[in-house]
Structure formats: structure tokens, C-alpha cells
């Protein structure tokens, strides 16, 4: 089904001799290119996959001027809605309009079903893992996951030992990054179990695309995602704290680090969609182990906190001393069972990039099942022989810092300079526990509307999983796009964009 390497090369040669009769070479696909990566739209050059046929035809039929106008309308809509993202490490601390691509990414129903069951399995296993390592540590005693890996993890919270969380759920909101490999299968690139962001862009993309392609959208039979905020609220309400008696409904708030956080737009958006208060640390106080919110009508008790603040900053009494974002005494209120936090404290241990390598074993250990979604092969640098291999192949591999996210602290071997590789070699040798390496993956590519034509760009997929009374996945997710030609980094913080993701009803 998928274009072989030789066929791809043949096509590239043919491009230089345009065949205007072939639909692929008509605008906007005149310069569309293939390589060894899986192409989301085409099963072979010129032949779209069945679920992409209608979109393909629409694009061929639309005058390119029309497409350009649609793109401008979409961009303007993002600007007017204030959908922004702040890029760090830039002296100006720039807040940018989140780049959106006009062409939807389409996922057939059967593929989604597999993703859904794979992610449900994964979140169940990871929650059991967290409960275990913060209680009896069976998996450590049985030698499935090395103890040292857990105890040396920066995100392991000793304070959580022996503490019971509502329903035993540590991770209620999870965003898992999937990539599609050249063989067409999805694999998990990383789990984000702390404070995953991006879901507001999924909702915004949908809103805009519905306006831009109303007929196409209706005819395609796309699963809705608009109920995400309600599903999130239901999930949060399911986490009522142990000491919640009798009151009618739990008071849920969203705790944000503040306006300078890169995802502040999302915090305001979600709070508003759920109809709950958006608070900063200074808006809350703890008195006699109970959390209150300062309101214009006095103090009001808070039961569930959807916190978008990292563990380190959550409670200056308990964690980072100089945090001005947290609430002193919050952890004691949490320990007593007077307030719930989503996600729980200490979930970062399970999305540590070195623990990631053990997730298939974790799934087998707790569920007795084989993982439905595969992992990407991962080299652990604490292992001598693996480290030697990695140091010898730095120009081919991707090296990541285990505790980082957002595409920071990363080396992409094939695109690196000798100097960068030398720098990472030193860093790995100094702190092998801090890094892992993976083969440079050929992420699948999807057409994007850039410079007035369709161009292939690498994409990934981040579906959002909610775990309250049960596991819920809103059908869709955030398809992130590496907008720069040839780039493999899709993180928004590294200048990536996104596109709407259409999961088909049938």
C-alpha cells in the first residue's frame, strides 16, 4: 500500500517533467513531494487514501485564490480569538498567534478505535504503576523496573508515599504523543502525565475549520470534540475529596501559574468553557487544612483543583521554598483529604523518559496484556553498552533530557553540528541518568497549505485522555505540524503549528 523507496525516487525524477494530465501535478499539488515517511493523504503518488479522496477532490476543484482567502480568514479568526502561545528562551518573551494549518488531518474510524483502546490500556497501567510505587513498590521488589531509576527521578515525590488519592487515580488528564511510523502503525513517543497542554488548540482548530469548510465538514461525518470541556468538568467532579460531605456539588477551580505561562490562553479558555473560577496561587489560602478561595463575597471552600502549576511550585512549604505561584499548606490539605488535585502530585515519575522505556513491561506486569500501541525503541544511557552505542552513533540518534518537555534540551543527530554533538557527549558522560536516546524517527507527513500550495510536512498526534469515573477520549486530538521544511520537531514551543484532526464516524 505504501510507496516503496524506489517508487518515491522515481516520482521525484518525474516531477521535473510535469505531466499536467495527472491530478497530482495540478495545483495545489504541483510540487508535492514524497520521501520514505508514511504519507497521511496518499497511498501512492497521485492516489489518495480512500478517506482523503473527498478532501483531495475539493482541493483540486477550489481555485487557489479561494484557498488563500480561506487561510487568511482562519488566521484572522485565531488572532481575534486571542489564541496564542508564548515562546520561551527568547529575550522578548514573544506571545505568538498559534500557527494553524488549513488542511485537516483525517483518521479513519478503525484506526481511531485502535488508538483509543491502546491509550485506555496505557493510562490504566500507568495509574496502577503510580499507585504501586507510592505504596508497596511491588514492581520494584519484583525487579521489573529498577529501583534506582525511580529514586533518582527528579519527579519522584517521597511525600506521596502511603497517601491515598480519590479513586486511586493519579493521572486524570493525560496527553500522549503518538507518531506514525513508515509501516503505517502508530507508536507512543511520550506520555505527558503532569500538566499536558494544547487541548484548547484542538477545540479552536475545529471551530475555525467548521467555518472554513462547512460543507466538506458536514459531508465527511466527523466525530465531534466540542464536549471536551464538559467531559473534563465531569472528570474533575468525579474526584471529590474523601472529606467532602453532603454539600451539593464540589467547587472546582483551575489554578494557573499566571499570565506569563505559555498556556495561559488555554487556562482562561478552559475555565470559561467549564464555568469555573480561574485562580492564581495568591487567590487561595489554606486555613486549618481547608483550602479557600478569596472572592468578593468572602472566603469560599474549594474541593477540587485542576492545577496547571508544576509540583515544584505548588506549595512553598513543602516543595520549592521560593515559589510565589503556589499555596502554602496546600499539600497538608491534600494529605488530609480536604481537597483533590488533578493531576495528583508526583505523576512526573511515570512520564520520565527513562521510565518510558519500561512502559510495555509495566503494561504486561499490571494488566497481563500485550501493549496495543508500541513504544519507540529507547536507549538507556545508564547502561554501559547502550551508552557506548549511543556515543558512537550520535549523528544518527535523537538524544533527549529525561525530565524536560516541550522540545527543550534535545539533540537531533542528523541535523546537528559537530559542536552540538560534542556538547551532548560531555553532558551524557557527566549525567547518564539524565538522558535517553532514540532512533531518529521518520514521522508521517501530511499535506499543509503553505505559500499558496500543498506541501508535505511531518506531523504527530496528541490525543487527550480523561480518567474520572471511567476513561474518556474525545475523538480527535492535536495534530502538531513541523512547519519548517524537513524539520522533525513539532513542539509548539519550537515554532511548530497544528491542524484540525478529523476522526471519522464510520
Amino acid at each position: 500500500m505504501q510507496p516503496s523507496r524506489t517508487r518515491t525516487r522515481g516520482l521525484l525524477r518525474r516531477v521535473t517533467l510535469p505531466d499536467s494530465a495527472h491530478p497530482l501535478f495540478r495545483p495545489p499539488f504541483r510540487n508535492y513531494q514524497f520521501d520514505s515517511a508514511y504519507d497521511e493523504m496518499f497511498e501512492a503518488p497521485g492516489i489518495p487514501r480512500p478517506h482523503y479522496r473527498a478532501l483531495f477532490q475539493t482541493l483540486l476543484d477550489l481555485p487557489s485564490e479561494e484557498l488563500r482567502k480561506s487561510q487568511q480568514a482562519a488566521e484572522l479568526s485565531f488572532l481575534h480569538q486571542g489564541i496564542t502561545f508564548t515562546v520561551y528562551g527568547n529575550s522578548e518573551g514573544t506571545e505568538r498567534v498559534f500557527p494553524n494549518d488549513l488542511l485537516p488531518r483525517i483518521i479513519p474510524h478503525a484506526e481511531w478505535r485502535k488508538i483509543e483502546s491502546g491509550l485506555t490500556q496505557r493510562i490504566a497501567a500507568l495509574n496502577l504503576f503510580l499507585e504501586d510505587i507510592y505504596h508497596n513498590g511491588r514492581i520494584l521488589a519484583d525487579g521489573i523496573v529498577p529501583k534506582e531509576l525511580v529514586y533518582t527521578c527528579r519527579h519522584f515525590r517521597r511525600e506521596m508515599r502511603g497517601l491515598n488519592v480519590p479513586r486511586g487515580i493519579y493521572v486524570s488528564i493525560c496527553g500522549t504523543d503518538l507518531v506514525r511510523l513508515p509501516d503505517g502503525n502508530f507508536a507512543v513517543l511520550e506520555d505527558n502525565l503532569r500538566v499536558p497542554s494544547g487541548v484548547s488548540y484542538m477545540l479552536a482548530n475545529r471551530k475555525v475549520l467548521k467555518k472554513v469548510f462547512p460543507t466538506l465538514f458536514r459531508d465527511y461525518g466527523v466525530c465531534p470534540v466540542d464536549h471536551y470541556a464538559q467531559a473534563l468538568l465531569a472528570t474533575l467532579r468525579a474526584l471529590t475529596p474523601p472529606n467532602f460531605y453532603g454539600r451539593h456539588e464540589p467547587t472546582v477551580v483551575l489554578l494557573t501559574p499566571g499570565v506569563f505561562n505559555s498556556a495561559y490562553f488555554e487556562h482562561t479558555f478552559l475555565a470559561q468553557q467549564m464555568g469555573i473560577e480561574l485562580v492564581e496561587g495568591r487567590d487561595l489560602l489554606v486555613h486549618d487544612n481547608v483550602v479557600y478561595m478569596r472572592t468578593t463575597a468572602g472566603l469560599r471552600r474549594v474541593d477540587v483543583i485542576y492545577r496547571r502549576v508544576d509540583d515544584d511550585f505548588l506549595d512553598p512549604l513543602c516543595f520549592q521554598r521560593d515559589s510565589s505561584l503556589g499555596v502554602p499548606g496546600l499539600f497538608n490539605a491534600y494529605r488530609t483529604g480536604n481537597v483533590s488535585l488533578a493531576n495528583a502530585i508526583g505523576t512526573g515519575i511515570a512520564d520520565d523518559k527513562a521510565v518510558y522505556a519500561y512502559v510495555p513491561a509495566i503494561i504486561r506486569y499490571y494488566l497481563g496484556e500485550d501493549p496495543i500501541l508500541a513504544n519507540v525503541p529507547t536507549y538507556l544511557l545508564t547502561d554501559r553498552s547502550q551508552q557506548n552505542y549511543v556515543l558512537d552513533h550520535l549523528d544518527e540518534l535523537v538524544v533527549k533530557a529525561v525530565g524536560e518537555s516541550g522540545g527543550y534540551g534535545m539533540l537531533i543527530g542528523p541535523q546537528s553540528t559537530a559542536e552540538q554533538r560534542e556538547d551532548f557527549r560531555r553532558r551524557i558522560q557527566a549525567e547518564p541518568r539524565n538522558y535517553i536516546a532514540q532512533p531518529t524517527l521518520s514521522l508521517s507527513r501530511a499535506p499543509c497549505f503553505l505559500d499558496g500550495e500543498a506541501q508535505a510536512r511531518h506531523v504527530d498526534l496528541r490525543p487527550y485522555i480523561l480518567y474520572g469515573e471511567n476513561v474518556t477520549l474525545v475523538p480527535g486530538g492535536l495534530t502538531r505540524v513541523a512547519l519548517r521544511r524537513g524539520s522533525l520537531v513539532v513542539n509548539s514551543s519550537q515554532g511548530g503549528g497544528s491542524k484540525d484532526t478529523w476522526v471519522l464516524r464510520a
Partner: protein, 324 residues
């Protein structure tokens, strides 16, 4: 032997502050050779005192004072029975291979792991490595012999100078100046022995000081809380080493809290709202319980601090820059 301990901590603020939230680790432990018979904690202004046990099994009391206040006074009174133990007998102490067996045979319990890894204050630095080299700090003789020697070497290499370092000073400060307080010596000893794979923990507590007339006077300050270490010696269990006073075993030591280092077990830890000039004064008296009831002595430790400068928006920005 039964001891009575009176530990008073007073914070004063100028101008008054509000919303103080505080955690204290002041209740002596009841395990090993000691038993806490009574414990009383008073806080003024009045507050509801709640408690929990932390992951090391230490009892933590905590409270908050919501209204305006210019002073917080925490008074802890306890009586503790400490059984005197004979000094560890080197004939019974195991070898290095016994130690390795003890560490690896344990399943389920992870305490050793924590006490083998570097921690915030007890981690290796180039200064420490040089010091370790001078002391020939390596796996030689038996674990007990080596620790005994290290305990004495630290005692002899450093001058005990009250207030020469702060509670949060890195060990390099003491290593450079060759002076420090009990805390520094404990951290240095922990950082020296953990890389040899000897489980080692930090102990915060009190010590009963004998009269100055005795031939060997204790160096550590009477009237203050004290810190030392415990290391796992094969066949003997956890043995206390006090490098400040060159003592082994601990029949005059009263254990309050165990941790990886000071960061886990400060006697008091608090946060408040409002910028103020603050002062902290501490006084501790330890007396045999048949002596007259302890009276409060003038404070031995007074720390003045200027108001914390208002956080620049820049720091706030940095803290807000987390994401996933």
C-alpha cells in the same frame, strides 16, 4: 536515663505579617534506643495544631495563623527515655561484603536506597573529593573502622565555630574555611560515606551536655539543637556517629527526626504573607528529669533577616515558565 527537653522558638516580625503557615519537627522519635514519654506543643497566638507522619516516620506538627501577628512563639516540652547502649564492638561488626549483602538482600524496604544516593546538601563536590582523598576515604579495613576514623578526622580537621555558616550553606563553605557547625560536619560525613555504598542518614535532635569540668568537653553548643549521622553497620544496625564531638553511639543523644539531610528535617519551616523584618530566636535546654524542671535560658541562636526583597516580575516569569 530520662531527659526533659524544653525547646522554644520565637519569630518576631516588624511590621506585623499575616497568614503564617508553619510546620515543625520537634517531637522526639519513639524507636530504637529511645522512647518519647510525653510531648506538649504550645503555639501563640493560638492556632489549631494538626499533625502527620512524614515518609521517614517523623512526627510533623503544623498550623496556620490567619490574622495579623508580629510574633509566633512555639514551645515544645518533651520527656524522653534513652537507653544507654554499650559502644559498638568492632569484633561483632561485619565486613564490606556483609554490608553489600545486607543492602542487596532487602526486598520491599527501600530505605537503604534513599540513604545511598546523594541529596541536596550531601552531595559530592570537587572540594569534597579532595578532602576524601586526603582521608583515604575508600573501602578499606571494615566499615566500622573506617567510619570511626572518618568521624575523628572530621572532628580534627574542622573548628567548631557557631554561626560560621548558615542552615542552607553548601558543604563547600565549611570545606574551604575548615570551620562550621554540627550540620556541616554531618553533611560532609554523609557525602563522604554514601559513595562507598554505606547507607547513611542525617539525624536532627538534642544532646545532653556534661559539665565542663569533665575531661573531654563537648564542642557542640549547649542550648541549641544538634545534628549527627547514623550509618548502617553490618551485623550491628544503625550506629550513631557524631563528628562534631567525636562520639560514637548515642546515649546522650535524643533523636527527633531522620532525613536524607537537613532539607528533609528542619525543626521549623514556615511561610508568611507580608514583607517584614524578622528575627528568629531559639533556646533549648536538656536536663535529666530528676533535675529541677527546665527553665528557659536566654536564646542561643538569634537570626535577624531583612525583609525579603519584593520579587521582581522577572523571577515570577521564570517560575511561570513551566510547561509540558
Amino acid at each position: 536515663m530520662i531527659y526533659s527537653v524544653l525547646h522554644t522558638t520565637t519569630f518576631t516580625y516588624q511590621p506585623a505579617v499575616r497568614e503564617s503557615v508553619m510546620e515543625v519537627r520537634l517531637q522526639p522519635r519513639s524507636d530504637g534506643p529511645q522512647h518519647c514519654l510525653t510531648f506538649e506543643l504550645d503555639v501563640t497566638p493560638a492556632a489549631n495544631i494538626m499533625q502527620y507522619r512524614d515518609f521517614m516516620g517523623n512526627t510533623v506538627h503544623h498550623f496556620d495563623i490567619a490574622g495579623k501577628h508580629s510574633e509566633v512563639k512555639v514551645t515544645a516540652r518533651s520527656s524522653v527515655e534513652v537507653q544507654s547502649a554499650p559502644p559498638p564492638n568492632s569484633a561483632d561488626a561485619g565486613s564490606w561484603s556483609d554490608l553489600d549483602r545486607a543492602i542487596s538482600s532487602v526486598s520491599g524496604s527501600d530505605d537503604y536506597w534513599e540513604m545511598l544516593l546523594p541529596s541536596q546538601f550531601a552531595k559530592s563536590t570537587s572540594c569534597l573529593e579532595a578532602f576524601a582523598k586526603d582521608l583515604r576515604c575508600e573501602r578499606r579495613d571494615t566499615p566500622l573502622q573506617l567510619l570511626t576514623e572518618l568521624n575523628q578526622s572530621i572532628y580534627e580537621s574542622f573548628a567548631y565555630v557557631p554561626n560560621s555558616t548558615n542552615v542552607d550553606s553548601p558543604i563547600d563553605d565549611a570545606l574551604h574555611s575548615r570551620q562550621g557547625v554540627c550540620q556541616d560536619f554531618a553533611h560532609i560525613m554523609i557525602a563522604l560515606v554514601r559513595p562507598l555504598r554505606i547507607p547513611c542518614c542525617y539525624v536532627s535532635g538534642y544532646m545532653f551536655h556534661r559539665d565542663a569540668a569533665e575531661e573531654k568537653k563537648d564542642r557542640s553548643l549547649e542550648g541549641a539543637s544538634h545534628a549527627w549521622i547514623e550509618a548502617l553497620i553490618p551485623n550491628l544496625g544503625w550506629i550513631a556517629f557524631d563528628p562534631t564531638n567525636n562520639l560514637i553511639g548515642a546515649d546522650r543523644h535524643i533523636r527527633v527526626a531522620l532525613g536524607r539531610d537537613y532539607a528533609d528535617v528542619p525543626p521549623t519551616r514556615g511561610v508568611h504573607k507580608g514583607e517584614a523584618q524578622s528575627a528568629l530566636s531559639v533556646s533549648v535546654t536538656v536536663s535529666p528529669s530528676d533535675a529541677p524542671p527546665p527553665v528557659q535560658l536566654p536564646p542561643t541562636l538569634v537570626i535577624q533577616s531583612r525583609p525579603t526583597t519584593a520579587r521582581t516580575p522577572r523571577i515570577d516569569h521564570e517560575q511561570q515558565q513551566q510547561q509540558q
